[in-house]
């Protein structure tokens, strides 16, 4: 019987060493194999996912390239870098997408925004947030069409002073009961537009030179 055979050695230190070592070996091998098996698939899924999101802020009619492949690091004036994704139509940059971050009620709100060459908003989507379910999560497009109201807006339209929620004297609706979440989104988008304006040349032209 195996019971008696192995348990005779159970208390030897060498047995413990070999046992744990073997288990570690087996476990790591299994994980390595699984990783090899799934790596490609996972990468594919993530890329698909990202493309789908990019599509939402860079509508397919304005580009004929794959924006997710055109990832560039933009050097900002403060020395930090920001990844941007360029959409091209006939080789010309027709729009860019980049991430901004707002300070929400319960943590940061990650926002992806797409801007066309003239600085008009193509789309705004919330990627990640931790807002109160049922209250602050109306910024998700799946739950509420609120973020679609940004489409077609730009820095001058409405004027800068109106880039705020109504409670703060701006033109954007806040949802009832929650002010902080939409305020954070509006501010983040406005800041994103300002950032675009400040780096418009870099975002559009130098990128063209690089190629």
């Amino acid at each position: 019987m195996s019971t008696t055979f192995f348990s005779r050695y159970h208390h030897r230190i060498s047995y413990q060493v070999i046992l744990l070592g073997t288990i570690g070996l087996l476990a790591s091998t299994a994980l390595v194999i699984a990783d090899l098996l799934t790596r490609e698939e996972i990468a594919l899924r993530q890329a698909e996912d990202f493309r789908a999101t990019l599509e939402q802020v860079l509508p397919p009619e304005i580009h004929d390239n794959q924006p997710q492949d055109e990832r560039h690091l933009l050097l900002l004036k403060d020395g930090s870098t920001l990844p941007i994704y360029r959409a091209r139509l006939d080789g010309r940059v027709s729009g860019v997408a980049f991430q901004v971050r707002g300070r929400g009620y319960a943590g940061p709100i990650e926002i992806l925004m797409g801007v066309d060459a003239s600085g008009q908003l193509l789309g705004v989507r919330v990627l990640r947030h931790t807002e109160t379910p049922g209250l602050g999560d109306k910024i998700e497009v799946a739950r509420d069409p609120w973020v679609l109201t940004f489409n077609g807006l730009s820095l001058g339209k409405p004027p800068l002073s109106a880039w705020a929620v109504k409670k703060d004297g701006g033109q954007f609706d806040q949802f009832t009961g929650a002010t902080i979440t939409p305020r954070a989104v509006v501010q983040a988008v406005r800041d994103g537009l300002i950032l675009f304006q400040n780096h418009q040349a870099d975002m559009l032209q130098r990128a063209a030179e690089e190629d």
């Binding site: 050695y9 208390h11 046992l19 990783d35 098996l37 996912d49």
Partner: protein
């Protein structure tokens, strides 16, 4: 022979689903339980993933039980369970991507699900493989049921729906499960916030106590 085996399995099933339920009797695995049950679908997904890990770990540990020396059993269990969870995480990420996006944060939490370690330590490491398998199935189903129940109890008053987004988990064929019980419902937010989980859990536990007491009273009455 066969009938005794069947009776044994029935007992294991009873234990897992009710008498010795992971959550309601052993009060284990509360962390994933309270964290993910904002909807019945989330509960189901978490439950199924945990069940898979539980069955696999029970099987693995039971079949290795003679090899594992008592002095190092805990690290061995932890290593094996961690491996299984990582495997599940990888596979879900690859082939159930949408669900993984919804549950992703919680899958690694299964490692810390003390119910799995507890079953390994108190059951699988001392029982033959077939019983360990049945135990894993029973305990897993019991855990899943509680997760779904708690999810439903929180989802219905919280957002007025039941099994919302079930198609993400089970595929388009299960879209019929998604019920909207109350249209234009603004929601009783407390229930989908963390305090609601504790509250609902408390009431479920109290409910089980009441049922058990009734059953016992009926039992002793009929015995007398």
């Amino acid at each position: 022979m066969f009938s005794t085996l069947l009776a044994d399995y029935r007992q294991l099933m009873r234990d897992g689903l009710w008498d010795n339920n992971v959550v309601m009797a052993q009060m284990l695995a509360l962390c994933p339980l309270l964290a993910v049950t904002t909807s019945a679908t989330n509960g189901l997904g978490m439950g199924l993933a945990s069940t898979a890990v539980l069955i696999a770990s029970n099987l693995l540990i039971s079949s290795l039980r003679h090899l594992i020396s008592p002095d190092v059993r805990i690290p061995v269990f932890v290593l094996l369970i961690a491996m299984l969870v990582t495997l599940v995480d990888l596979f879900m990420n690859a082939w159930l991507y949408e669900l993984h996006k919804a549950l992703g944060l919680f899958i690694p939490l299964i490692v810390t699900n003390c119910a799995i370690l507890a079953r390994a330590e108190s059951f699988a490491s001392r029982q033959p493989v077939h019983r360990a398998f049945m135990d894993g199935v029973a305990m897993g189903i019991g855990f899943t049921l509680i997760l779904v129940l708690l999810g439903a109890v929180r989802e219905i008053p919280g957002s007025g729906t039941l099994f919302a987004d079930a198609r993400l988990l089970l595929g388009e064929g299960f879209a019929w499960m998604e019920l909207t019980l109350i249209e234009d419902y603004r929601g009783f937010l407390l229930m989908i916030l963390p305090p609601g989980a504790f509250l609902a859990m408390g009431f479920i536990l109290a409910g089980k106590r009441v049922l058990d007491q009734r059953r016992q009273a009926a039992h002793s009455a009929s015995a007398a």
